[in-house]
Subunit: 347 residues, 2 copies
């Protein structure tokens, strides 16, 4: 055993830094439960710190791990609240099932979120756009080199007081070579392998002055799918278009919120296969006035340019719809506006 | 720091069990090196045991990890030797590069293998087919939730005195639904995500009385690719056929050895796209007389049946070619036969 502080000591020793960034500051505590012989332990708060893991664990060897990303908000004097946590619970369970892992029961998932968000209530930044990023993670702790599922797992809820992921409009690089996820594969699951597959492309994007890659479909590389950690939208002839879901696209909860908010605000929304060639033509013809990204981390963020492999930049120019939707979403998430959708979950 | 035995104590306390299985018994020591600020540490032997890892490390969160699988053999009174380790070193480096990680230098890779195999020399089982399975593993130790590569890594060489992976002919289930790896994806890299993607299919295979899945191509699901941890061969009209490599197939070192050994033994070898429908027809027509799998763990192993999703069993019947090639390969690996290919690497 490691000499560790108690939960109380860890909480008492923590002060919220001035500069947060996204995911850089770890909250002083985390929730931990274990799965063995078909049963979940109760779970409890422990100080955040290194964990012990066998080096032959299938989480490291075979990427037997899934995760979620969500946020707790604080609007003093109220207790913290969560945004659509049951949707995250459901996706977490579906991700686990896709890679053959046991699903974390919804009650345990919520207990973990509640424990962490409540203990960290004082550290949840209240500035608009900031929040406590919560990272439920499920991974194998059992060693073994045969390609079969493990019998022992650990469920952690990590947390990080955070600012929004990106500040300012994003530059996106169209990835024409690498593919993130196969049809029939695990792209719709939040499992580590999809992200490892995306890293070489990110490196290329960064080298070209962008921040993230736009993925094309794995079959033809002709229709757009999503960004490495965000879904994508285009405003075309005043309508809000986004790629239709498939098993190679992560079904973003923010994506769903955007579609519902936009419809609620009177926009026509369209989910359809979106050929990249057509999108670039629509930008050139000024039919596509703006592009934006959605995700828990990024919230809703304008995309200022698409860089193609041939070096050409495509700039839709506007960002008014994205910024309006972003404000509407934040107003609900941060408790300033009515919540007609039942998205807010009080702890 | 954990209270740990010294390397000498760990080695002294270890006795080789009677029953080994494959990868079940961990050798008492492992090699460990770290990468930080662009530099590799020297690396050293440490006792095998749990490691400390930050729970937000990208190895757990984003499957930023790659591995190798290879074997050390002992033929007393000689020192242990390795089989084609430079090929593993090269593939390890290519796997790392594919997911944007720094490659482990060949010299450090070999130093790790040498250190572990030499320290464990007395525990390398000498029965034919048994060996010391070596598992070089490279993974991120840096925390972070943005989809970019880490800057801090750990390189371990784990080891396990092992029997062959499978005993007796295998039953294989044709996976018609799930896809293991995309074209343009990471299937040709030995990175964890490919294995997580395969686990649900393994569970189905096991439920149907098989041990492993046969993967079809991700585009059409019409041509055969490989098994979850082995390549596949068919003997058709006396020739040895195997799927041509693509970026969704792991280029097995045993696969390459089979092709070269078979050609050396006078067989015609054919690498080509292999439609599953044609293969099943060839089995029915007795043109395909046998199927077998190749891999470091499985060596060369006959496949007795292919189970299709419609419940039909396809049984090629024979296994003479597989068993003959297996014996020739083992004779070289275990030092009983001349090594015309320069595959044996003395430590
Ligand atoms: C690949 C990918 N796409 C899209 C999203 C957006 O999903 P959500 O809106 O649920 O955060 C994420 C997660 O943040 C993601 O990892
Ligand atoms: C997916 C996959 N295919 C094939 C093989 C066979 O490769 P090798 O012969 O180098 O062991 C392996 C590894 O053992 C593998 O993991």
């Amino acid at each position: 055993m490691l000499p560790q502080p108690t939960v109380e000591q860890a909480l008492a020793a923590f002060t919220l830094p001035e500069k947060l960034g996204f995911g850089r500051i770890s909250a002083p505590v985390m929730f931990s439960a274990t799965y063995e012989k078909g049963e979940w332990s109760e779970g409890r708060l422990i100080p955040f710190g290194p964990i012990e893991l066998m080096p032959n664990a299938r989480s490291i060897q075979f990427a037997e791990s899934v995760f979620e990303g969500m946020k707790a908000y604080r609007v003093p004097p109220a207790r913290p609240h969560l945004f659509r946590p049951l949707d995250n619970a459901g996706r977490f369970a579906r991700s686990a099932t896709r890679v053959g892992m046991p699903a974390v029961p919804e009650s345990l998932f919520l207990a973990g979120l509640d424990a962490v968000a409540s203990a960290c209530a004082d550290f949840i930044p209240t500035r608009s756009g900031s929040s406590l990023y919560l990272r439920p993670t499920l991974f194998s702790t059992e060693g073994g080199y045969d390609v079969v599922n493990s019998g022992a797992f650990r469920f952690l809820v990590l947390a990080s007081p955070s600012e929004p992921y990106s500040s300012g409009p994003m530059r996106v690089r169209i990835e024409r070579d690498d593919v993130r996820a196969a049809r029939g594969g695990v792209g719709a699951a939040k499992t580590g392998g999809n992200y490892a597959a995306a890293m070489r492309a990110t490196t290329r994007a960064v080298a070209d002055g962008c921040t993230v890659s736009l993925w094309l479909d794995p079959q033809q590389r002709q229709t757009i799918e999503e960004l490495s950690g965000m879904n994508i939208f285009a405003v075309i002839d005043g309508e809000i278009h986004t790629p239709v879901l498939s098993d190679s696209i992560l079904p973003g909860i923010t994506r769903d919120s955007v579609l519902r908010l936009a419809a609620h605000s009177g926009y026509r929304t369209v989910e359809r296969p979106m050929p990249i060639a057509e999108l670039l033509a629509d930008i050139a013809a000024n039919r596509c006035s703006e592009l934006f990204a959605s995700g828990t981390a990024a919230i809703i963020n304008p995309i200022e340019s698409l860089l193609d492999a041939d070096g050409r930049q495509h700039r839709p120019g506007a960002s008014a719809v994205a910024l309006r939707l972003r404000q509407s979403l934040l107003d609900i998430q941060e408790g300033r506006a009515q919540d007609p959708f039942g998205w807010i979950h009080r702890l």
